[in-house]
Amino acid sequence: MKSIYTFKAFLFFLSIWVLSSCHDDITTTYTYRTMMPIYLEMSDVRARVFTTEPAKPLDNPGKIYIYENYLFINEPTKGIHILDNSNPSNPINLSFIPIEGNVDMAVNGSILYADNYVDLLAFDISKIGDIKLIKRVEDVFTHMYSHDTGEIITFQDTVISTENPTWQRESGWLMDARMSFSANFSAAAQSYGTGGSMARFTLSNQHLYAVDESTLRVFDVETPADPTFVKPIDLGWGIETIFPFQDKLFIGSNNGMHIYDASTPSSPTRMALYEHIQACDPVVVNEDYAFVTLRNGTSCWNGVNELQVIDIEDPYQPKLKKAYSMLNPHGLGLAGDFLYIAEGVHGLKSFNVSDVMSIDQNQLEFLTNLKSVDLIPGPNSLIVIGPDGVCQFDYSNPSKLKKLSCIKVSNPVNVY
């Protein structure tokens, strides 16, 4: 009899369960990458004291700057790593300066300039073991202000999971490459590299020039320890790189190359805009020619892949001299007559460009296993930035690069 009761009990619970729910259900989870806006009070940011921290492993390196025997490597939005590079075969990680919102830097004498969200900071680096903040120029990169109250808006690349079907309209933005580019003051920005051809801060004639996506900002740094903001100059949209040469500034945008006369350094004026089809285009320049790489990429979807040699003898009338087809050229560097081109996933090429009409016939090397996005021809080594980290090569023999070292990094730049 006992089993009958068990059976009845079972039936009872079964029927409750069955009748309680008898239709299909769906729950949907949306997980996506987005640029989350983060609001910060500049007064809080300014209240923080800078202290040099012990060396940290390199993560997602951004701009690289060579200063004496040191390498300054920016980690976008986090700060600056300092490495002793007296022996390029064995760079030593020394310390880290945490600077929130920092994406770029430049060194003038013994003064390091770095951006800190909307402010420009000047550090005294004459004693590398005792770096001090000596000046803060407030409210210069004003495009980050969300409104007038001193609150800034910045973006963080975040992964979010939600069950809300209207997730696209939530406070974040769906991450795509264009977003990443326009919000280039975030960690996701493609603002790597540099000191080389993809720089955004540059020094020339006692002035510091900083470009963001639409504006050139001029600082007077005649007294290096006392930078003063001079003025902003509107450039138009899509500005990517700045390269100073003699009294001129060559500014790469994604639809052309601007040439500015900086003979009055506090007030550069436009000489010409050399237009090309939409593409990503780092620039390097020598006396007579500008070398521009155009590539088809995420932020420059309509591009071609080529190296253009532009005759700038008359800077008011830049003329295309010759174009050479390339695979997917990113950054480039010029050292005397030798041009090095980071071909992205395809490798690294070197050319002798003394005869600009036959560059293709003067290819010296094509290192197909050296994936790279940018490079800097430094005094002691050629620094190559790619997925393997930050690598240095002996290029005393330009036609035969010799690997010296590679600094391993977590989250290296992606090559594509």
Binding site: W17, D24, I26, D157, V159, A187
Partner: protein
């Protein structure tokens, strides 16, 4: 979620193997089989107008077990269930209990607990997207009646069951080349977004078949 179900599948397969091994060693009398074919009936997902469409699809079950006492059998079941466009292969551990005299019609109850696999569903992948299904938790209590054949030990069976099956549907977009990856635990590597639909199918099942 997508890792858990794989572990579940592996565990189930291992159990099936153990029971099979035990069977082959045991005496013939020990073995019990229930094989049935029928249909699943349910009310589908809520439409935009609040209505639900009825869903009726094929269901096949084969249970293999060992008698642990006169009226109790434990074993495992597998088969085939169709839920609209989604084909599922269930794997479950199960119990059957009988009431009634030998040689007479018997009432029986059953309980199956396991997972359904969506291996029959194709993964669709192109340059930008990938979509796929993953199986999930399955539970199915049942009641039935068995009518013994005049000769031999086999019986005709009629079952009525409730079946609760979870299936996950995934649709992801890949990270576009050139974008920086960010380490995280929410997205599988290489994806920039992932939509996960957790479907819960609640069905009544009517099946008929044989037992021996």
């Amino acid at each position: 979620m997508f890792i858990e179900t794989n572990v579940l599948k592996t565990k189930l397969l291992f159990f099936c193997f153990l029971i099979f091994s035990a069977q082959s060693l045991a005496q013939e009398k020990l073995y019990f089989n229930q094989t049935e074919l029928g249909f699943l009936y349910g009310k589908g997902l809520e439409q935009w107008d609040g209505n639900r469409e009825k869903r009726m699809d094929v269901s096949f079950l084969t249970f293999h077990g060992a008698r642990i006492s006169k009226n109790h059998v434990v074993g495992f079941s597998t088969g085939f269930d169709q839920y609209d466009e989604i084909s599922v292969i269930p794997f479950a551990l199960g119990w059957r209990g009988f009431m009634g005299k030998s040689g007479k019609p018997k009432i029986f109850a059953g309980f199956d607990l396991g997972g359904g696999s969506a291996v029959l569903e194709k993964k669709v992948k192109d340059e930008w997207n990938k979509s796929w299904y993953e199986g999930g938790f399955l539970v199915s209590p049942s009641l039935g009646i068995s009518l013994p054949a005049k000769k031999g030990k086999s019986a005709l069976s009629f079952s009525f069951a409730y079946k609760r099956q979870q299936i996950s549907q995934f649709w992801g977009t890949f990270i576009q080349p050139g974008s920086q990856t960010i380490p995280n635990e929410l997205l599988p590597p290489g994806f920039s977004s992932l939509t996960e639909n957790n479907l819960l199918f609640r069905s009544f099942v009517f099946r008929t078949g044989i037992m021996f």
